[in-house]
Amino acid sequence: MCVCCASRHNVATCSIPCATRNRARGWPTEPDGVHVSKFKDAGHLVRLAIACAIVLVVFLLVRAYFIPKTFGEYGHYRGAALSELSSKPLAYAGHKACEDCHADVLEVKKAGKHAGVNCEACHGPLAKHAEEPASMVPQLPETAVLCARCHEENIAKPKTFPQVASTQHSGGVVCKTCHVPHSPLLQPGDKKS
């Protein structure tokens, strides 16, 4: 009978730490009976600590490898994405680039009803032309198609916007026969009675 836990086993094999068992094993015992050799299995703890440290180091290495350098620079995303997105190439040069060279057209346009229409809205994307004029010569738009895109009659268009039913309006004659696209309003003398 174990004097320690009152079980049938030998006191030497009892798992409960107590002064009686320590004495039975020949281990020293403190006055309050605490098991002084509680670090007997410290080797296990050291191995556990090493294993944890290895796991932590591996985790940190893997994390450093997979997470992009700039992640978290501005928030929960890759900071470098901002400069990548802003460095994409342009297709439309913007009206200022057009006006730098084509000031004469700008003068005509400013005086007319198309003053607010930017050049590339009709002439298409011309960033390449703005960068190197000789590399790309813009094609003249087909006014029969172009003008109708905006001015063809449609019930959903604002009532104040000038609209025509093109077949009735011109009978198939292309718009630029009468209208100058850059300043389309006909002169008083040109208007049909």
Binding site: G75, Y77, A81, L85, L90, V117, C150, A156
Partner: protein, 242 residues
Amino acid sequence: MITRRKMLMLLPAAAFAWKYVLAGTPEMASNYNRSEHWWGMLLDIDKCIGCGNCVRGCATENNVPEGYFRTWVERYHVPGWRQETPQVDSPNGGKDGFPPSTAVGGKNFFVPKMCNHCAESPCTQVCPVGATFESPDGVVLVDETYCLGCRYCIQACPYGCRFLHPTKHTAEKCSLCYHRITKGLTTACCENCPTGARQLADLKNPADPIHEFLKTHSVQVLKPYLATGAKAFYHDIDGSVR
């Protein structure tokens, strides 16, 4: 021969020169300061003529695949007083313009749609990897090199502004032409809009006319009850628009 004294004297000069070497990189060469801007868009229903220039311009500028849209135009027909049942069509996103309407009477108008660049965007909140985000200047962007293509953001967007790119298999959306606005240009849709129905708005720039417009005109955002902090402001919008 360079003495230690001369070397020490040269160091500050070298440091000063290095600053200019670094300035040659694209990131630092730009005088664009993200903290000085907060981008949004003003869309004027009264001015939209449904020409589709914005849709075509956006597709060209951003290589949007055929059949998909970063921006599109809808035509509304509200026949009676009931706002719940408008008739809406958008053939090919309005890219080819609109055929003559068969509608008679009622209210008829065009509504340009796009990403609302929400300040509290539902799409960025659901991204599991941080591939979509709100930039410091208020633009909701997608990092296509980091996107998994899980489509959570597409489901989360209450405005239907996202799609999965058919060949890249990553989420796509309006970037508010981030590559243009950071260079001092306006967006491709605004550049192409012949009537000024779309206007890029810098809500942090006091000189931007948007401030005066917002103070003096009635504007509304789409689905305000969702509290997404949408920054696409619609002028004179009808209650039937969803």
